[in-house]
């Protein structure tokens, strides 16, 4: 038998690769968010679905329009735009006019990612950039919470949902305060169990603590997120609020309430863990996490807003390059004394 030369490629080693790919990792996060998303839809109905879809459409269309032609398909296929759109959608109020959600998605990708040079180069979490933009531009719409109708009235959308573009929304008579708002402005607590299963008003996807945690555990097992991040954020929130609660239980919210209310879980598990905008090193991750936890408590307790997760993460995003610089490991064999 003769061996003829096959058409040999001369690719340099290593030839072996682990199996996880970046696009797969992004899709994993999407799967992890699915249960919480469905819970949001179950609770807030068709309107919530439309808000999420508008936000995703805003994100993907922007990515398509503003990417150079040869990079388009690769950028859409890496699923990161889809993830940004979904994450933004999940942190919007269910009765938000759809055109606002669309603009939010567009801004998230445009200002949050593309102007920095695309995936991997942005300093701030894109979906939070989108949300911060909406919060500043449409403060009323972004803080008007509507009660969920439950699955019985799935097809019943809010009056505000279909507001024509660039018009202000008019709301139904009934609005509902979020648990954090109730706590901050009326010193009224919400039963913990309602928080855990998500039977409260709030953003579409942030209410069901249980499902968010479930998705997080799945991701951690798939190594899709750095477990240190949620653990450090949640532990520090527990610790700081626990200390305050011990000081004055009447004035400050309890640690478990703090954990399950507002956007803390979705932020800690799905947004702070965005690899692009969080530190590279394990030590840096701990610092980042504790920083977020501390800022969340400071803003919630002492600031003017009931919720602070978004700003806490954005602030720590801006500190990431600095953290990376100072947590660089000691290179093996360097700085060892030799006689």
């Amino acid at each position: 038998m003769n061996v003829t030369d096959p058409r040999l490629l001369v690719q340099p080693s290593p030839l072996l690769k682990q199996r996880m790919r970046t696009d797969q990792a992004m899709r994993d996060v999407l799967y992890a968010l699915l249960p919480a998303t469905l819970a949001g839809l179950w609770y807030f109905g068709l309107a919530a679905l439309l808000v999420i879809l508008s936000s995703i459409a805003g994100a993907l269309i922007t990515e398509w329009v503003f990417s150079p032609a040869q990079a388009r398909s690769a950028r859409l296929l890496d699923s990161s735009g889809l993830l940004t759109g979904l994450l933004l959608g999940l942190t919007l109020p269910p009765a938000l006019p759809l055109w606002m959600a669309f603009i939010g998605g567009a801004v998230a990708i445009g200002l949050g990612k593309l102007v920095w040079g695309g995936l991997g180069y942005n300093l701030f979490n894109p979906s939070l950039v989108g949300r911060a933009f909406l919060g500043a531009t449409f403060p009323i719409a972004m803080t008007t919470w509507s009660p969920g109708a439950g699955p019985a009235d799935f097809f019943q959308v809010y009056e505000s949902t279909l507001t024509p573009p660039f018009m202000q929304a008019s709301y139904d008579a009934v609005t509902a305060a979020t648990p954090l708002g109730l706590m901050k402005f009326e010193y009224q607590s919400t039963p913990l169990w309602d928080l855990v299963i998500g039977k409260t008003s709030g953003c579409i996807g942030e209410t069901s603590g249980l499902l968010l945690i479930l998705g997080g555990v799945y991701l951690a097992f798939r190594r899709g997120l750095d477990w240190r991040m949620p653990v450090s954020i949640l532990a520090s929130v527990l610790l700081f609020t626990g200390a305050l609660y011990l000081l004055d239980p009447a004035k400050y919210p309890g640690p478990l309430f703090s954990l399950f209310s507002g956007g803390l879980l979705i932020g800690a598990i799905y947004m702070a863990t965005d690899p692009v905008t969080s530190p590279l090193t394990p030590r840096g991750t701990w610092i980042f996490g504790v920083g977020v936890g501390l800022l969340v408590v400071l803003i919630r307790v002492f600031g003017g807003f009931p919720e602070g997760v978004m700003y806490a993460i954005l602030l720590m995003n801006s500190a990431t390059p600095l953290i990376d610089r100072y947590t660089q490991s000691r290179v093996f064999g360097k700085g060892i004394k030799t006689e």
């Binding site: 061996v3 001369v10 030839l15 072996l16 790919r21 360097k334 060892i336």
Partner: protein, 447 residues
């Protein structure tokens, strides 16, 4: 119990766990590759200066006869693997695709190919200097990958006292099983080699480090060690790159060899088990380094094998002996899949450092789509030298090679753990290699 203890021992940090892929060959007894018609011996097969040819075209040579003598201290001898005639001396394609000086030998098919060499003197009567010079003339190089002529390590700097001798049997590269077979099949030779080195270097203790995935090697060697011998076998966690000398020293002795120093500066000598066995063979029969053990494997190979191959045998002949390669083979690698060198043509010969010949099909080497770095930190957590590969890759892409020095690029051992672990498919170590080569070239130009 020992295995358990080793599992919990600290060992080195970071690193990766690629599939071992050794099942195809780890239990296959070694076979001899038959002699073929033509041999190509690249003259320069190791670090340091090239040897000087001492034969001329047309000359008759015997198997084991010297054909090139050491060209400097950091250089070694080269011997004919076969009895026959020197046909040509000139530039030939070398593994890695470069053209280099080579000696071409045509085998005499009627010759017996029996080795007729002088026996070396009894090693017990040797001084360390004589030993060093004999090893240099045996042509043995470090067989763990770096290919430093073996004797160089034994000529100790003034004032250095050797405490520990380590025989490296980690064989952490996937697919490769040649060191494994040596430990299982030739434990006496290996232990004899350790005894020679141990005595002549004046070591206090000798250690054989073996990854836990080779329990038969661990048992065989333990059974062969006499109770009066200061030799012990240390099982090691299966983790890549356990066989890297500084990582192994960290795992076994919990000592961090400072950057810029060699293990010998701390009184530690490390050798690959094959190197040690080759030294034992040389002092037993006078057999110079002319045959090497090669693992032929990989998804493109019909009949994987562990082979003893005479140096200079064309890759094509070795593959033919193993039943050829699958039609869709797209890459043949010399060495391991993590650090080996791609073969550019099947006419390239087996050289002293060819521990493996691995054939990969198109499907196995398909380059996945490359995505931007998402700063996931997997490469950072993989790098056993605690470098920041993501950062280095970014700088390399911008060709900021001098800036890379500040990030300690020169400490990189090119183990490839970073590229292995990157989900975005970024060729990190490949870019680091280019950067390092550029920096070396610049440095040597400046000198």
């Amino acid at each position: 119990m020992n295995a358990l203890a080793a599992l919990f021992k600290r060992g080195f940090s970071h690193g990766i766990h690629p599939d071992e892929l050794k099942d195809q060959t780890h239990a296959l007894p070694t076979q001899r590759m038959p002699f073929v018609e033509r041999y190509t011996l690249p003259v320069h097969q190791h670090l340091g200066a090239p040897p000087r040819p001492v034969v001329a075209a047309g000359q008759r040579v015997q198997r084991g006869q010297l054909v090139a003598e050491p060209g400097a201290f950091v250089s070694t001898a080269l011997h004919s693997p076969v009895t026959g005639w020197v046909r040509a001396i000139g530039p030939r394609r070398f593994p890695g695709g470069r053209y280099e000086q080579a000696i071409e030998i045509e085998a005499d098919r009627y010759a017996s190919q029996r080795l007729r060499v002088e026996s070396p003197p009894d090693w017990r009567s040797l001084s360390l200097e004589d030993f060093v010079s004999l090893v240099q003339h045996s042509g043995i190089v470090g067989l763990g990958g770096a290919s430093l002529p073996a004797h160089v390590k034994y000529s100790l700097r003034e004032g250095v006292k050797i405490k520990t001798l380590i025989a490296n049997g980690a064989e952490c590269e996937p697919y490769l099983t040649n060191d494994h077979r040596i430990m299982v099949e030739q434990p006496e030779a290996l232990l004899r080699g350790i005894e020679i080195l141990h005595t002549l270097l004046g070591a206090e203790e000798s250690i054989i480090g073996i990854e836990l995935n080779k329990p038969d090697a661990i048992e065989t060697l333990r059974a062969h060690i006499r109770s009066d011998q200061p030799i012990r076998v240390v099982p090691l966690r299966v983790k890549y790159p356990q066989g890297d000398s500084k990582m192994m020293i960290k795992s076994i002795l919990d000592v961090e060899v400072p950057a810029g120093l060699h293990a010998a500066d701390l009184g530690i000598i490390m050798n690959n088990v094959s190197t040690v066995a080759a030294i034992a063979d040389y002092f037993a029969s006078g057999m110079p380094y002319i045959d090497r053990m090669v693992t032929v494997s990989g998804p493109g190979i019909e009949y994987p094998a562990n082979l003893v191959v005479p140096l200079g045998t064309p890759v094509r002949e070795v593959l033919r002996f193993c039943g050829g390669v699958r039609e869709d083979t797209r890459e043949v690698v010399m060495g391991g899949p993590m650090m080996g060198t791609p073969v550019a043509s099947l006419d390239e010969p087996v050289i002293k450092s060819s521990s493996g010949l691995l054939a990969f099909t198109a499907e196995h080497i398909a380059r996945p789509t490359e995505y931007p770095c998402i700063r996931c930190g997997r490469c950072v957590e993989a790098c056993p030298y605690f470098l920041n590969p993501a950062r280095l890759a970014k700088l390399a892409r911008a060709r900021l090679y001098d800036e890379m020095k500040a990030f300690q690029v020169m400490e990189c051992v090119e183990c490839g753990s970073c590229t292995y672990s990157c989900p975005s498919g970024i060729p990190i170590v490949q870019m680091i290699r280019t950067a390092k080569n550029t920096l070396w070239a610049k440095k040597s130009k400046a000198e």
